[in-house]
């Protein structure tokens, strides 16, 4: 039978671990709620910008360099992962998808350069693929100002024709327990109306800009709106990734706590058995001793 003291020590250490994983789960749950709210709060702005953009483009037929698809020779991939681990497959699945994307593009003869967000992404790719920029310090607290500054920097490189498209790979937030790794093309901006938002965008679209006054002009308004739309998309993706990270960490810690509880149960059983065995042994010895003195 295993040493009782040893078992007791192990129970203690597993209990400590469970305490930590439970606390981490609670923290992740609280942060998840906040980041979910943040995603919802971006929607009114993002939808309205996109609906004006689509209306100007579709009804008025106005062109903009960011809407024109160029032949892809070089592309930029933005990888959004996390700063920290202990969140299940959150980081790993992004890396896998990113590598798959790079391979697929390379086999078509397209060069891929990387922009990474998140310390883990930097650690992973620095030995595997040249990184153009590592954007540090965004994930601690994601603000629109920080996100749009980064997006602007990437956009400027695009306008200098350093690459012909901007893709982004991230964990799309479905629900607290479900995250989907997705690759999206952000630039050139897709002018296909995405499913699910059709209802919002269609409202009054047909006659939308019939009698409008545009100030200063349609072109200048579009010039302003298209980059803004990109900033919002980028901002949204980062927020979704952050929410997904908290969701993933919450489920990972939930599992870890459950496993720890199971382990404690098993160990307690083992400990009780050992204790019972020791008592039985002692009793036998006493009985044996009494027997011998007779």
């Amino acid at each position: 039978m295993a040493d009782r003291k040893e078992i007791r020590k192990r129970i203690g250490s597993v209990q400590n671990t469970r305490q930590i994983t439970r606390a981490m789960k609670m923290v992740a749950a609280a942060k998840l709620r906040r980041s979910q709210e943040a995603i919802l709060n971006t929607r009114p702005f993002a939808y309205r910008i996109y609906s004006i953009l689509l209306s100007l483009f579709k009804r008025e037929g106005i062109q903009h360099p960011l809407l024109v698809v160029r032949e892809e020779k070089k592309v930029r991939l933005i990888v959004v992962a996390g700063d920290r681990g202990l969140c299940g497959s959150f980081n790993a699945s992004v890396f896998k998808e990113a590598q798959r994307f790079i391979k697929a593009k390379q086999s078509e003869g397209v060069e891929v350069s990387l922009d990474v967000i998140g310390k883990k992404a930097h650690d992973f790719f620095k030995k595997r693929h040249p990184i153009s920029t590592y954007h540090e310090g965004l994930l601690g607290k994601v603000t629109y100002a920080k996100a749009s500054a980064i997006a602007n920097q990437i956009l400027n490189a695009y306008l200098k024709e350093e690459f012909d498209a901007i893709y982004l790979v991230y964990n799309e937030f479905k629900s607290a327990i479900q995250q989907n790794v997705t690759v999206e093309r952000l630039i050139p901006v897709s002018t296909k109306v995405p499913e699910g938002v059709v209802g919002i965008l269609k409202v009054g679209e047909d006659e939308r800009f019939k009698n409008y006054i545009f100030e200063p002009s349609k072109e200048e308004i579009l010039n302003d709106i298209v980059p803004k739309h990109f900033y919002m998309q980028f901002f949204r993706c980062v927020l979704e990734s952050v929410a997904s990270e908290h969701g993933a960490r919450m489920s990972a810690m939930e599992n870890a706590s459950k496993n720890a509880s199971e382990m404690i149960e098993d160990l307690t059983l083992l400990y009780n058995k050992a204790r019972q065995a020791a008592i039985t042994k002692e009793l036998m010895e006493i009985v044996g001793g009494v027997e011998a003195t007779k």
């Binding site: 709060n41 702005f45 629109y144 409008y212 006054i213 100030e215 308004i221 302003d224």
Partner: protein, 130 residues
């Protein structure tokens, strides 16, 4: 009566407030919107936005965005919007000084633009905060 929505990337600041008139900082100068205004889509520059309801005025500082007017609804979309009651005047003053000092030195073009925007914003903030 006009209905006003002011939306920023992180929240809906004003949701369906009603007013008799709205003044917007348009790119070509101030625009006043009254009931029955024609449909309009305009860019906004950094400046004050005010709307009046029953003699009471609410003031906001707006940085680059745009506004849409239709069916007596005014929709303002801007990067940052602050209501006058939230503005810290001393902070705005120190921001102005900082920007002014930065503009004295030699700057790259993008930095120059950035500082100039900061300066504009600081001045607008001070103007509307009382």
């Amino acid at each position: 009566m006009l209905k006003i929505d002011i939306v920023t990337p992180i929240k809906k600041l004003v949701d369906g407030a009603s007013a008799e008139s709205v003044k917007l900082p348009g790119t070509k100068g101030e625009i006043e919107i009254l009931e029955g205004h024609t449909e309009l889509l305009t860019l906004l520059k950094t400046g004050p936005l005010t709307f009046v309801k029953e003699g009471k005025e609410r003031k906001f500082s707006v940085t680059y965005g745009f506004a849409e007017v239709r069916d007596n609804k005014v929709l303002v979309l801007a990067d940052t919007v602050e209501e006058s009651t939230e503005i810290d005047k001393t902070r705005a003053q120190s921001a102005q000084k900082k920007a002014e000092q930065a503009l004295m030195g030699t700057l790259s073009e993008s930095d120059f633009n950035k500082q100039q925007l900061k300066l504009e914003r600081a001045i607008v903030r001070q103007r509307i905060s009382i």
